[in-house]
């Protein structure tokens, strides 16, 4: 099966390359896999995820995402790659001036889909995340769990080939967390999306087989 992400002797650093976070890491993620990356706070989990969507360029080594070299990728190619990703953040990153429905279809707006398609897809996704009644409300009027469900719906709206989630249930209660994990599991299982989740703790509810990497002393090791 083809690799969606390939890292070879990857080094990631901040402060113009002075502060190394990940050093000489090699790993790969195959198409359709569900992968957890765990590690203690400050170990570089979020940094690694940022490099997958091009917010951080590799300092050394090679990183490819969807076959694109992330060290050499140009701005327009990078933006195009991002339109095929679904990204979920711990702090949701919703646009507070937009309604829930408009937030959900952001990737479709960017891709230039017609209003009809946007509305149809929004209805379907909001039903899927059980937020149909909240379509016309604004993110700040929702609970944390509801906001994250909006974030997940947005990530799934364009059937991405790769879903990246950064502590997606970090701020949520157990019920909301279980809903979010279910949604991502379904995306992997039914849509065939590759899912990479960075989190400090793997939930116990998983029904599908997953791979598990751990970040330790700037290295990335597979534990399962």
């Amino acid at each position: 099966m083809a690799n969606v992400i390939t890292a070879s002797k990857l080094t990631l650093a901040y402060d113009g390359g002075r502060k190394e976070i990940i050093k000489h890491a090699s790993f790969s993620v195959r198409k359709g896999e569900f992968v957890f990356i765990t590690g203690p706070s400050g170990s570089g989990k979020s940094t690694l995820l940022k490099s997958f969507y091009g917010a951080l360029r590799p300092k050394e080594g090679k990183l490819t995402v969807g076959g694109l070299d992330m060290a050499r990728i140009g701005q327009s190619k990078l933006l195009e790659l991002r339109t095929h990703l679904g990204i979920i953040f711990q702090d949701y990153k919703l646009i507070n001036e937009w309604t829930v429905e408009k937030n959900v279809v952001l990737p479709l707006i960017i891709a230039g889909y017609s209003t009809d398609i946007q509305q149809t897809q929004a209805k379907k996704l909001l039903r899927h995340v059980k937020l149909t009644e909240q379509a016309d409300r604004y993110p700040l009027e929702l609970s944390g769990g509801e906001q994250q469900r909006v974030g997940v719906a947005r990530a799934l709206s364009k059937n991405p080939f790769l879903i990246l989630a950064d502590e997606p249930t970090g701020n949520l209660d157990e019920y909301s967390s279980n809903v979010i994990w279910d949604l991502m599991e379904n995306a992997c299982d039914q849509l065939g999306s590759t899912v990479v989740v960075v989190t400090h703790r793997i939930p116990t509810i998983f029904n599908i087989p997953y791979r598990h990497f751990i970040i330790e002393n700037k290295g990335i090791y597979e534990v399962r």
């Binding site: 901040y14 113009g16 091009g54 917010a55 646009i95």
Partner: protein, 271 residues
């Protein structure tokens, strides 16, 4: 209400800039026309022993645009009136050549003096009269008004630019998060800043229409009935159609520069 306030915050400084520019255009036209009148009424008298053509004078100084010979017959007749025994033709033969020189534009005192010196240095030219004082007083008043006006417009422009920069900071604070989220999901810069472009372009059009409207009203409705001589004489200079294009172009340039600056400064970090 918030939307109206957002528009006004950018519209007002933009309007101030455009009003300053339109004042500048009008003032420039008025001063040019007045300078032209000054130039037309101004001449240098030259007395020369030999006959000279415009070409000769232009060789001495290129600012000399016209050289009109003053008919000697009239002068001879005037002189002959006081000298009964001398025939006109003898006087005519003894008289030098007189020329009225007109310049291509109204020059400063120093420049006119330079021309005078150049003329006097030419063999055969006996006298040069520049009649400077009367015109010089008018010209100095002109220069004074120009300096005062340009200082005022410059100050107004600076304050307005400062307000536009402040508004850009407000835009950045209000829109940075949204623009960064859109960038994460792959939105190109034009889409990310679309809201600002739309708002800015509306403000640019409004500011252009308001400014042009004010000056058009001045030209077509106020000036003819104002009773103010300087306005009534120069109605046509108060507003020209090409001003709309100039104002619109400048307003759009300011808007595009401001929005692009905000969009670039709001880009997400990429290390």
């Amino acid at each position: 209400m918030k939307s109206v306030r957002d528009h006004l915050m950018f519209l007002l400084p933009l309007l101030a800039i455009l009003l300053g520019i339109e004042f500048f255009l009008v003032f420039n036209r008025v001063t040019q026309s007045s300078e032209e009148k000054l130039r037309e009424s101004y001449s240098i008298l030259v007395v020369s022993e030999k006959a000279m053509s415009l070409k000769d004078f232009r060789r001495i100084d290129p600012h000399i645009a016209e050289a009109a010979p003053i008919p000697k017959a009239r002068i001879a007749k005037e002189i002959a009136r006081g000298m009964k025994n001398t025939p006109d033709r003898e006087i005519l033969a003894a008289l030098p050549h007189f020329y009225n020189l007109h310049l291509d534009r109204y020059l400063s005192r120093q420049s006119v003096e330079r021309i005078r010196q150049k003329l006097l240095a030419v063999k055969g030219i006996k006298k040069v009269e520049t009649f400077g004082e009367n015109h010089r007083a008018k010209y100095n008043l002109f220069l004074f008004l120009k300096i005062i006006f340009w200082s005022f417009v410059g100050l107004m422009g600076l304050v307005s630019i400062f307000l536009v920069v402040k508004q850009m900071e407000v835009w950045q604070m209000a829109h940075r998060e949204r623009m960064q989220i859109m960038e994460i999901f792959g939105a190109p810069m034009l889409l990310r800043s679309g809201v600002l472009f739309r708002m800015g372009i509306v403000d640019a059009l409004l500011a252009t229409v308001i400014t042009a409207g004010i000056f058009a009203l001045l030209r077509y409705y106020y000036a003819p009935i104002s009773g103010i001589e300087i306005l009534m004489d120069r109605q046509a200079l108060l507003f020209e159609l090409k001003d709309v294009a100039i104002l619109g172009g400048i307003a759009l340039f300011i808007v595009i520069s401001a929005v692009l600056t905000v969009a670039v400064k709001s880009r997400g970090p990429r290390e």
